[in-house]
Amino acid sequence: MLEYYNPSKDLGTPAILSEILINIEIDGKSISVAEGTSVMRAASLHDINIPKLCATDSLEPFGSCRLCAVQIEGRRGYPASCTTPVAEGMKITTETEKLAKLRRNVMELYISDHPLDCLTCPANGDCELQDMAGAVGLREVRYGFSGANHLDVEKDHSNPYFSFDPSKCIVCSRCVRACEEVQGTYALTIDGRGFDSKVVAGTDQDFIDSDCVSCGACVQACPTSTLMEKSVIDQGQPEHSIVTTCAYCGVGCSFEAQMKGDQVIRMVPYKGGAANQGHSCVKGRFAFGYATHKDRIKEPMIRDSIDQPWRVVSWDEAFTFAAAKIHKIQAKHGRESVGGITSSRCTNEETYLVQKLIRSAFGNNNTDTCARVCHSPTGFGLKTTLGESAGTQTFESIRKTDCIVVIGANPTDAHPVFGSLMRRRLREGASLIVLDPRDIDLLATPHLKRAIHLQLRPGTNVAIVNALAHVIVTENLLDEDFIAKRCATAAFESWKAFISLDKNSPESTESITGVPAQKVKDAARLYANAGNGAIFYGLGVTEHSQGSTMVMGIANLALATGNLGREGVGVNPLRGQNNVQGSCDMGSFPHELPGYQHVGIKAVRDKFEAAWKVKIDHEPGLRIPNMFDAAINGTFKGLYVQGEDIAQSDPNTQHVERALRALDCLIVQDIFLNETAKFAHVLLPGATFLEKDGTFTNAERRINRVRKVMPPLAGLADWEVTMGLSKALGYEMNYDHPSEIMDEIAQLTPSFSGVSYEKLEQLGSIQWPCNDEHPLGTPTMHVTDFPIGKGNFAVTEFIPTLERSSRRLPLLLTTGRILSQYNVGAQTRRTPNMTWHDEDILEVHPHDAQERGINDGDWLGITSRAGHTVLRAKISERMQPGVVYTTFHHPGSGANVITTDNSDWATNCPEYKVTAVQVEKVTQPSRWQQEFQASDKRQKGFLNKRTRHTADNL
């Protein structure tokens, strides 16, 4: 695959995708480069470094600074090397006396309107203007500084993370172009002409009031200190850096953690990162301060009852206490009375160890992970149809997509860096189809040429996917050749007969979905005829009572149109958390050992039993919701939760709280006293991604290295904590480094058999499967066949959810995410990201608002059959009448107090996306919220009043 950016050098202009080579000569050196390459890039590739200011290789050439002028034999004047493409036989000279004088004159003009405060400037040591002044040999500025200038222009400090100092601006437009080309937001522009031209945010507003999404692309592109991180202004330039992987969403961006000693000064997106290629979002780029927040738990703590203050103990005392409790529970209630939940935020190695502990030290398969409540239907649906529980493509593949289909996902908020790549492709001409009850920002992409929004009613996904397939079949838009060669015939015929039924036609489903039949037909034709059609989906697909059916319906569409097995196409689940893919791969589910190997298969168990030297139960264990039910029933009494906040994130909060209160031993391993930890008896300090080594696997199946940049604040990384607990339980694990854990994973997991830290260092990242057949990994899945041989069409009957609006509960609530906050908000709520979203609000359509006399900012009581909560109102036309929407980033909001116990038929993934509710104006918080506030205060008091005891007086 082409590497678009050289991570170690700025080559000035982007790479060109051409296999035709052009021969040129630069400064007497013969060079061959791809057709269309700029003279600047060609020179730079061969270590001839032409001075530049407005050029950088993440942006298209602009040719404004004139510093990169060269001389070309046979051509007049001094063309800009950034905007001049190479031509066969071209002879270029980059250094002559004339060019040197020209460049000095250009620099002189720049510097005549630039503060000469280099020694006190925050960019000192990292300033391209300074570097270029040196490179061109600038020695004097003849114009003086007494004339008109911009030196006293007011600074803008409104953004919490970076400052804008226009006095330092050279109007190179790199920030404006980064906002357009890389981020796709168009928040910045050049206002005015000539001497008056200046960079402005929005309509000449402060950055914070503009459309700026704080992705940091402008800051990164700025060659001076005009746009500068406040952390660098405050603390100075970093002195070393380590490349690691972001611990926010499933995009898995690579970052340079730029450090002073063991202190992170800034996180800079790494150009060599295959997932993000040098781009970032506000979370990964700036919201890392939670790692050293005062709320971090830094000492192990225990207590006998959740009504007691915590007692600080040593690690060994905590492990011994926890192990004794687990053993006591198992002695009284049986081996299966305890279990654990692995974390999709922790590393692959840590997840692997937790499920190993549960299967070995606990002796059962009661292990699950948060994928249960997000993408478990992806696992079931894709494995049934395509044979593998994972997305089929690289992110980069979208650059060859002609029609982008986004279903139940909001990439610009939830997967922002990939959202930007999507927007780039849309600007280049790809068409867009969105299936979503809500109007998402992607539909407002500037320069988007063709888009269809199928704004369906919540809970009708399967009806509409069937209608799309019906059009493809009945209008003979099938890829017959692909189906004949790659798909199981009997399954296809059966599906074809089903999907052709009139009940699946757009006309028949219109009354169910609310989407006009013609729109569905247009969308089906657009996707099927596009050439390369790629489907991207999120939790709006999976978190339904028919989540698994919908995933299969999506796979059916791709199989029917032959949109699988090459670049530009595919079925791509957008994973929510950083390591959801990895936690599933690592055997977190109660029925599967690592690599999706079922516990019921003897040969599989034999392999693991030989390696782990224990007997593995052949029966699946309990899933998270089943654990809650069993806890309330009194048969499940002990739970070990690593890096997961089930009390906030899981549906039907009061049910979850009841289950947690029923436990005799809850062991929580986390970086903060999260909502779940308030019900815990053992609190083991967790480590952030900055404090440990390991790997994350992103939504592309890409295994990326996580590298320790600072020591764990509590002394141990999470994998070491699990080893300590396991040892106390009587099952000793001996690893000196996570690389040894990965070696064991590779030994036991066929799809990881070729993975090692050594190979990861060589390749940068690896997309599994990586084995003898695919030693360098597998960027595109299913190129020649499927793991199950032939593609398997699945019949997808639409069964309406039981959760329906009624006279008592006439509205449908659906939930989602916002850009600045992440999941339960435990991390982002402890950063200045609170500037943008300090409370969850309820979006209500004007029609529904008017009926109820609701205005913006009113307190609204929201009642479902599960519970009642209160949120502030925002009038919004993003949804259709009858649909309300909220986020779940703040625990006190109680968004999950109202979500119900409905779940996907195959996997028990909760139906977060459809809840029948009534909304009315109220004057005070709900009873649950009042109790939450009191409980929160009490539990924080127990933390603050923690005491220190030795083992003797426990």
């Binding site: 299966e336 398969n365 009661n366 059966s494 089903f498 009572s545 028919q546 059916t549 109660p590 029925h591 079922h598 019921g600 029966e619 699946p620 264990g621 309990l622 899933r623 919701p625 089943n626 039910d629 069993a630 309330i632 029933n633 048969t635 039907n652 049910h655 019949v795 009957e797 069964i799 059959r865 599960a866 119900t900 116990d901 779940s903 038929w905 195959a906 996997t907 028990n908």
Partner: protein, 69 residues
């Protein structure tokens, strides 16, 4: 909201309802295999015992599926 027992009944009925394309016998086989593959031992025991105690609320498919466990 459903009790744990009601939830189990709902779950098994839901699996059957979503896989009726081949008729009841086929749906029962699918449901049974699904439970074998994904349900914990205790859940299977509970639903078997529930059927033995009368099985009120279980669909025809569910009853046939549980009998195959």
């Amino acid at each position: 909201m459903r009790s744990a027992q009601e939830q189990l009944i709902h779950m098994v009925n839901q699996i059957g309802e979503n896989n009726q394309q081949g008729g009841i016998e086929s749906a029962a086989t699918f449901t049974s295999e699904h439970m074998k593959k994904f349900w914990a031992r205790s859940m299977k025991e509970d639903i078997i015992n529930y059927l033995k105690s009368g099985g009120h609320g279980l669909s025809e498919t569910s009853i046939a599926a549980i009998k195959k466990l």
